[in-house]
C-alpha cells in the first residue's frame, strides 16, 4: 500500500458564511504543492501526498512533517485552525494517523489500527451493532472471523473488516471513487522514453501519437488519458478495460471496468457505460413499481421509467430480459438481473436490478 502523508485542518472542514475556508484550503494546497507536486485533496480541509519521494529528498519523514508544519504555520494561524499531520501506509490509516498526529512506521499499521475506536469506520449502523456486542475498538472487530462478518454484516461490513485488519487501503462509498485511481497514478510517472509496440519498434506515427497523448497528460493530469488494456477475465465483455497511459502493469493501476455485467448478456454492448449508475424506477401503467422476483421474472410489465437526476418520464416500447447475474449467496438482497429497454424515442438502454432496485447501467448510443 502506498505510504501517504495526510494533512487535516479541522477549522477548514466546514464552510463558513463567507466561503473563506475554501480559499484558504486552496492556498494551503498551493503551499504544499511547492514542496511536492502530487498533492491530492480528499475533502475540504484534508489532503494527502505520497511520502516516499519527499522523505528521500528532505531527509526523512520527521523532516517532511516538520517542514509542512513550518510552511503552513502562518496560514493556519491566520485561519485560526489547528493542523494535524500524520504518515501511514494506505489512505485510511494515513487519515487516522493525521487525526492522532503520528507517524506510523511501516509494518506497524495493524497494531496502530487496533486501538482506534470502531467509529473511525464512519459506519453508524455497524458501529452501533458492534458496540452492542461489546466491540469498541477496531482490533476487537478485526479479531472476528471473516466469514462470520461477511454473513452478519454483508459485503460492506466485510470490506470494513479488511480495512480494520490493514488488508485494504481504504473504505468504499465515502470518498470520490476516482481518488484511488489518481493516487495510484501518483506512483507511475509517464514514460520518459517511447515504449516499443508489438512489432518491436516504433514508427513515426506511434511516436507522434504518444507525444500528443503525453502532452495532454501533462496538461490535464495523468489519469485523464487512457488506453485500452487487455483484462484477464473469462468474460467476453470484460476483455478490455481502460487504464491510464503509462501504467506499467494492470495489477498496479486501478483499472476502470468498462463492462459491469457478465458475459451472459449477448452483443451488442452499450457504447456508453455509466461509471456511477444512477438509480431508476420502472413502473407499469398503474404506477406500480416493477421488480424482479426470486424466480427471475418481472413482477409486472414495465411501461415507463424515470432515471434519478432527470425530470422526464419515458415510455417503454419494448424490453428484453431479465437476465439473472451470478448471485453472491451472502448478500441480503440476493437477486441481480439485467434488462434491455427501448423507449419511445427508439433509444436502447441497459438497466440493472440490484439491492432491490433498478440502476441505469448503459446506453446503446
Amino acid at each position: 500500500m502506498e505510504r501517504l502523508v495526510a494533512l487535516w485542518c479541522p477549522g477548514l472542514s466546514e464552510e463558513g458564511p463567507r466561503g473563506e475556508e475554501v480559499r484558504a484550503f486552496d492556498r494551503l494546497l498551493a503551499l504544499v504543492r511547492e514542496r511536492c507536486p502530487f498533492v491530492e485533496p480528499i475533502r475540504r480541509g484534508v489532503a494527502v501526498f505520497p511520502a516516499r519521494a519527499p522523505s528521500r529528498f528532505f531527509g526523512g519523514e520527521e523532516a517532511v512533517v516538520a517542514m509542512v508544519r513550518e510552511d503552513l504555520a502562518s496560514l493556519c494561524q491566520a485561519q485560526g485552525t489547528a493542523l494535524h499531520v500524520g504518515i501511514a501506509d494506505g489512505l485510511f490509516a494515513a487519515l487516522c494517523a493525521a487525526k492522532a498526529d503520528v507517524i506510523v512506521p511501516t509494518g506497524t499499521t495493524q497494531a496502530f489500527l487496533r486501538d482506534l475506536p470502531i467509529t473511525s469506520l464512519r459506519r453508524s449502523e455497524l458501529a452501533v451493532l458492534c458496540q452492542r456486542l461489546g466491540l469498541y475498538r477496531l482490533g476487537q472487530f478485526a479479531d472476528l472471523p471473516h466469514d462470520r462478518v461477511l454473513e452478519r454484516f454483508g459485503t460492506d461490513g466485510a470490506h470494513c473488516h479488511r480495512v480494520a485488519r490493514g488488508e485494504e487501503g481504504d473504505l468504499v462509498g465515502i470518498r470520490d471513487p476516482s481518488i484511488h485511481q489518481r493516487l495510484a497514478n501518483l506512483y507511475e510517472a509517464p514514460p520518459a522514453s517511447v515504449q516499443p509496440t508489438f512489432f518491436g519498434g516504433t514508427s513515426a506515427n506511434d511516436e507522434r501519437a504518444l507525444r500528443a497523448a503525453l502532452r495532454v497528460q501533462r496538461r490535464l493530469g495523468a489519469s485523464y488519458v487512457q488506453v485500452a488494456r487487455e483484462a484477464f477475465g473469462h468474460d467476453p465483455n470484460e476483455r478490455a478495460v481502460l487504464v491510464p497511459l503509462g501504467s506499467h502493469a494492470i495489477e498496479q493501476a486501478t483499472a476502470r471496468r468498462t463492462a459491469p455485467w457478465p458475459g451472459r448478456l449477448p452483443s451488442p454492448s452499450p457504447t456508453l457505460v455509466v461509471e456511477t449508475p444512477p438509480p431508476a424506477q420502472l413502473l407499469d401503467d398503474d404506477g406500480n413499481v416493477v421488480r424482479v422476483n426470486v424466480r427471475g421474472l418481472l413482477s409486472r410489465s414495465p411501461t415507463r421509467y424515470v432515471v434519478d437526476g432527470s425530470p422526464h418520464e419515458h415510455r417503454v416500447v419494448a424490453w428484453a430480459g431479465p437476465w439473472p447475474v451470478a448471485t453472491r449467496w451472502w448478500e441480503a438482497r440476493r437477486f441481480r438481473a439485467r434488462l434491455q429497454v427501448v423507449n419511445d424515442a427508439s433509444e436502447g438502454l441497459l438497466f440493472g436490478f440490484e439491492h432491490g432496485q433498478w440502476w441505469l447501467l448503459g446506453v446503446y448510443d
Binding site: 507522434r208 485500452a228 478490455a240 451488442p268 424490453w319
Partner: protein, 230 residues
C-alpha cells in the same frame, strides 16, 4: 497485444523480426494521400466515398440515437489499417462495444472525462492522431470550434464531432450527418434481446449544391459492425 504494453523481457532481448514480416507489418496507408478510408460497407455515406483529410464532420443525434456508434464505425476501418485515433469526451466509453463495431483499440487514445480541458485535449490530440472523435459537453464557443477546425486542416487530420443538437457546433462543417428515426430489432415484451438497429442518416455536404442524401444504416447490424441497410 496492445500498444505501450510492458515487454515481458528486457528490451534488446526481443528477437528481431524477419525482414519480410517487418515490411508486411508496416501501416498500409500512405501519409501523403488526401483521404482516409472508411469501411467499404459505409462508403456511400460520405461524399466521394472517404474522409478528406483536414475536414470536419458533425454527427447530430440525441443521446441514445446511435451517433456515438456511427462515429466509432466511421473510425473503425482507419484504426484497423494503422491510423491512430482519439476519442475525447465520450463519458464512460463502452470499449467492448467499440471493439464489436470494428474499432482496433490498440491504436486509440481515450480522454473520457476531460472536463473543462476538452478543447485543449482535442487540439493536442489532433496533432498526434489521424482521426479524432470529439463529444463536447455542451454548446461549443465559436472560437473553440474555429480553432479546432483550423487545427484539423493544418494537421491534415479528420475531426468527427458528436453533438446532440444542430446548434451545438456553431460553424458549418464540410459534412453533416443527422440521425433520425431508428428502430431496434430483437426485443419484444420480455422476449428476445437487442440484435440490430436500423437508423436513417441524412447527409449534407457543404460543397455540394445538391440535395442532402438519405441512407438507411444497420447500426449495429446482426454481425456487430455497421452496414448499409438498403
Amino acid at each position: 497485444m496492445f500498444a505501450f504494453s510492458t515487454p515481458s523481457r528486457p528490451l534488446g532481448a526481443r528477437p528481431p523480426l524477419p525482414e519480410q514480416l517487418k515490411e508486411r507489418a508496416k501501416p498500409v496507408f500512405s501519409a501523403s494521400s488526401r483521404t482516409i478510408d472508411v469501411d467499404p460497407a459505409l462508403q456511400t455515406l460520405l461524399p466521394r466515398g472517404a474522409f478528406q483529410r483536414g475536414t470536419t464532420t458533425v454527427l447530430i443525434g440525441p443521446e441514445g440515437s446511435g451517433a456515438t456508434s456511427l462515429g466509432i464505425s466511421l473510425m473503425a476501418h482507419a484504426s484497423s489499417i494503422g491510423h491512430w485515433c482519439g476519442v475525447v469526451g465520450a463519458q464512460d466509453p463502452g470499449v467492448a462495444a467499440m471493439k464489436e463495431l470494428g474499432l482496433d483499440v490498440r491504436r486509440v487514445i481515450f480522454v473520457p472525462h476531460p472536463r473543462a480541458g476538452w478543447a485543449d485535449a482535442a487540439a493536442e490530440l489532433l496533432d498526434g492522431v489521424d482521426v479524432l472523435l470529439l463529444c463536447p459537453p455542451r454548446n461549443v464557443p465559436f472560437g473553440a470550434a474555429r480553432r479546432l477546425m483550423a487545427r484539423a486542416k493544418e494537421r491534415r487530420s479528420v475531426l468527427l464531432v458528436r453533438t446532440t443538437t444542430p446548434t451545438q457546433w456553431p460553424i458549418v462543417p464540410e459534412v453533416t450527418m443527422s440521425l433520425t428515426t431508428s428502430s431496434w430489432q430483437g426485443v419484444g415484451h420480455g422476449d428476445g434481446y437487442l440484435t440490430a438497429r436500423r437508423v436513417l442518416v441524412t447527409v449534407h455536404g457543404r460543397r455540394d449544391a445538391s440535395q442532402p442524401t438519405e441512407r438507411w444504416l444497420w447500426l449495429p447490424s446482426r454481425h456487430g459492425a455497421a452496414s448499409m441497410a438498403e
